[in-house]
Each structure stands twice: as structure tokens, then as C-alpha cells.
């Protein structure tokens, strides 16, 4: 199977990632290929993700925590 090197995908989600040099310093561009939604992550945000404990990350993965919320 041939997958473009900047795509991280599996049967559940697919995102493309690349380094973006358009801003005043480098950042990571992440695109949700299913919806086209784009997010930029700067160095401090990425470092924070590296240090996120599993529990906190799991909380963010709960589909009702941010993306599919009834109260939003």
C-alpha cells in the first residue's frame, strides 16, 4: 500500500501533517482529511502534547468532550 508520507491514517481517522513556514516561526499544520478542518500547532503546544498524561489525552478523546457536544 502506498500512503503519502505526511498522512497519518487508520480505519478511524486520517490526518495530513506538515511543517508550515508561512508564519513568523515554524509550526505544524494538521488537517483532518475527512472534514478539511485545519489546525496549526506551535512549538509550545506540541511540547505540551508530548507531556500530556494518558488520562488527560483519553479525556480529550471522549467524543462528547469537544466535538459532538449537546450543549455546544
Amino acid at each position: 500500500m502506498n500512503i503519502s508520507p505526511d498522512i497519518v491514517g487508520n480505519e478511524f481517522a486520517e490526518v495530513s501533517i506538515r511543517i508550515d513556514d508561512e508564519a513568523n516561526s515554524r509550526r505544524l499544520r494538521v488537517e483532518d482529511l475527512k472534514t478539511g478542518r485545519v489546525r496549526f500547532l506551535d512549538a509550545l503546544e506540541l511540547e505540551t502534547i508530548v507531556w500530556l498524561p494518558e488520562g488527560n489525552l483519553r479525556r480529550l478523546l471522549d467524543p462528547s468532550s469537544d466535538r459532538w457536544r449537546e450543549d455546544a
Binding site: A23, N24, R26, L44
Partner: protein, 433 residues
Amino acid sequence: MTEVTDAVGPAGRPSGPAARYDELIQPRRVHGSLYTSPEIFADELQQIWYRTWVYVGHVSEIAEPNDYVRKSIGPQDVIMTRTADGEVHLLLNRCAHRGNLVCEADAGNSSSFRCPYHGWTYRNNGDMLGYPFHQGYGGRNKLELGLGRVPRVGVYQGFVFGSFAEDGPTLEQHLGEAKGEIDRLVRLAPEGEIELSAGFLKHRARANWKLLAENETDGYHPQFVHASIFSVAESGIGALYGEKSTAVTRALGNGHSENDLRPEFRRLGVPLGWFGTTEEKVPNYVKAMRDRHGDSGAEEVLIEGAPHVMIFPNLFIAEIQLFAIQPLAADLTVQHVTAVQFKSAPEMNKRMLQQCVGSVGPAGMLLADDTEMYERNQAGVAELRPEWLDVRRGVDREEIDERGLTIGGATDETGMRGFWSHYKHLMTEGRVR
């Protein structure tokens, strides 16, 4: 208090700072101590730089969400940020904990800033995000210490200004007639937007900031100071600043001034003549301008050219280059210089950048000449006699134009006198006499 000799301060007159500036600044002359006294410089920081509107930067320098650049207001180190929602903020580069510098780089992209000393972290709007080992403060969210903010931020045509005064005139009131000059610059861009994307040069001058500001619209010196470059380049610019020139020097109010060269450019009637180029050399630019302004509109805009305006106290637009004057001490000033760039005008941008480098770059011809004069001037004003600098040139032939503004001849010191009357107003206003 600065020592003022008996020539200006006889005993028995009212004393105090306001009275002092009344004596030091007169309609036809200004006292030399205004350029040399550290006490007056300290007073200027409080009465001018930390009070009135000061130019800081341009929105194009923080084009992307979370971009930031380091700028200044006088000696103050200011971070200009754009938050994710697009708002522009001016923050002071000082940690709320123990005062460390929060930002080191000249520019970057980050949603938050982290102080290197103890890791306190701030959002890029200045709000505190948090601090490490929070129990020492009784837990999380116990402190509400943000970065310092410049209380008022104003944007005009993408130019960002800051004021340390909580209230006072609005930016538009401060700019007044100078707004039209900024409009004239922006009007030359095919999409009506300029971009400061060429990077900055920093020129350090051992001179008082006011010598620079006064010189920016001094039409008396170019024929002498810049004679060699004008002759080598076979430039017609020198003649624009001669006795026969129909150009005028205009005091725009609030300390702003300009050399209005339009009468000369209109007389010559050559599109892009002010820029020393021809329509054939930049066909795409000219077409874009005709599309935007119509044929005759474009013709007028291209003939009249760009402004030559000094916006009090620190923004100088010299046609195709832009200077920000940064005072650091009574005898030390930095000029931050960049080429103006027009959005979507690559042909013009290349030429403007080349001309900027040639005239005010590190080996440029014009700024080197001027800087030599600033420094010689500073050395001279430190001499004790004759104490005064003369600014009367053209005072008796000034006129009021149709807009009610004072104009003088191309070589007259009308701009300087406008500068000083506003300076005096700021230095004395709100003080007990």
C-alpha cells in the same frame, strides 16, 4: 533640573517645568540644552513617549494568527501580537514574576509565551496561563498576574500605534491631517494595502532623536548634504529643494509635517517621475492601477506619487521607505528602516527594495550623509555658546493654505516650528505652573 544660564532664566520668573519649556522654546529659536540634557530626556519619556500615540509596527508584520514581533516605544521593549481571533495587542516584555524578559527572538509564532526563569506562562493577549509547582501559591489559578499592556492600541490603514495614556485624544484625532498622507501612500498600492515584509535595518546615531525628526522634513539641507549623490546619480531631486521650487513645507498640526512635492511633480506631469522610473518598466503595476483607479485617476495618483511626511513623534515615511525613530538616551537614537512594499505588486516591490537599500541601506548614500550630520550636530550643540539653535527660516513668508494649514517654501523651517509648538504643548500641558 537642567542648568539654564541667566540668559533664559532670570530670577523672579515663575519656575517649574512648564515655565522652563516656555523659556527654552521660542518662536524663532530653541535652546541647545533640549538636545543634551538627560533630565529633559527623562521628562520627554514621561510627557511624550509614555503619553502620546507612538507608531509601533504594521499589521502585515503579524499576518498569521499567533504571530508576534518585538517592537519598541522609546526604550520600552514591546511585543506586538496577533491572537488567534485576529486582535492586535501590545504587551510589555517583562515577566510578572521577577521581571525577566519573556521574549528573546525578534519574531515568532506562538499562542503563549513561557518565561525562561521559572516557567510562568502567558497567553499571547497577556493573560496569565499558569505557573509551575502551584502549591507554593496555594494552588492553581491563585494569581492574576498578566504581562504589562500598552493601555491603548490604535490601527490606521494597518499602521499600529500605542499609547501609554489610558485616555486622551483618539488615534484619529492625533493623526489629524497626517491621515491623508498615509492614505496617499496606501493609494499607490494596487490593492490598497502595503506590507512591511522586507525586514528592518537598524541605524544607530549618537544624536538626540529630535535632530532626526526635525531633519526629516528639512528641505534646506538636501542640496548641500546630498549634493554628491544627486550629481553622481544625475538626480533631479536636489532642484525640488531649491529657492525656485514650487514645492512647499507644510505643518500638518500635532507636530506632524511634510515636504509636499506635488506641485513640482504635477508641473512635470510624468507618471512615476517621482520614483525615477517609467510606466514601461512596471507594466503590470500600471495596469493594476488603471484597473483600480480608472485611467485618469491612475494618472493623477502616479504623477503625484508618495508622501514625504514626518508623523510626530517617530514615524517618517519618505516616499518608498519607512523609518521608526527610537530614542534611547539624550544623545543616542536608533532608526529602524524598511522598504515599503505593496501587496501584489512584485515589479514595484523589487525596485522599491533596491532603491531603499541604495539610499538608506548599510552602504546607502542618503542615510550615511544624514547620520554624519546628526552626529556633528549633536557634538556641536554640546558647545556652550551661543546656546540657541535658530529656526526662523521663512517665518515671515509663511502662508495659510486652503485647508487652514501653515505652509512655507520648499526650504523653510515651517515643519520644525510645527514640531516645536506641539512639543512645547505636550511638555507643559497638565502641569502646575
